[in-house]
Symmetry: C2
């Protein structure tokens, strides 16, 4: 990736390392990383002061999709949410990815919200 973004990775990894609310997951298959995701633990005052776990940046290696890598990744993430005492796991996915929507519904997620973005 070119442009200013190429200079941001060291800062991003430093931010992950410094913040116990941040976790980067890697699913390995032998020597290969075949799936990744980012978890953020978010405290809250809504719903009685409960904590939630947000999942972002879910990636599965293209040639291994549909073989349970994503399900394994989410199995671990949901267990981690319970270990951390979270009441909720949340994520957003692009409106143009109906196959991802079906995947999350199979895992028990409900499409209850609209996700808005503002580019700066």
């Amino acid at each position: 990736m070119g442009g200013r973004g190429s200079f941001c990775y060291p800062r991003a990894f430093a931010a992950f390392a410094a913040d116990p609310a941040q976790l980067l997951l890697a699913v390995t298959h032998g020597p290969d990383v075949v799936g990744t995701a980012q978890l953020t633990e978010i405290p809250g005052l809504s719903r009685g002061g409960t904590t939630r776990l947000q999942v972002e940046a879910v990636r599965v290696r293209a040639d291994l999709r549909g073989q349970g890598v994503g399900a394994a990744l989410f199995g671990w993430a949901v267990d981690e949410a319970r270990r951390r005492g979270c009441a909720l796991v949340q994520l957003t996915t692009d409106t143009r990815r109906p196959e991802a929507h079906r995947f999350y519904e199979r895992l028990g997620f409900t499409a209850s919200h609209v996700g808005f973005e503002l580019q700066l």
Copy 2:
């Protein structure tokens, strides 16, 4: 709020105080708090390693809605996102709140994602 939730507020406020990625906003009008929101700064590896600001728990006092409290709150939040070097502001809102959707679209947000939740 009764039940187990009523015991979680001290833990939630302690988590906010300990984490520089967390901000609680309060909009005041004279002596009154008339609007609140929660900001979370989230580092990322997507989009070249950019950081995003997430807005949650937006509340405006019911008798003061439609008078610019929310716009003032978001004006400050977007400025704060720029001060922190974020490339993106993101939020989710309940699918059943079309008036909120119009509000965010007026502020320049795009409804690009579907928000999924899993209750634990």
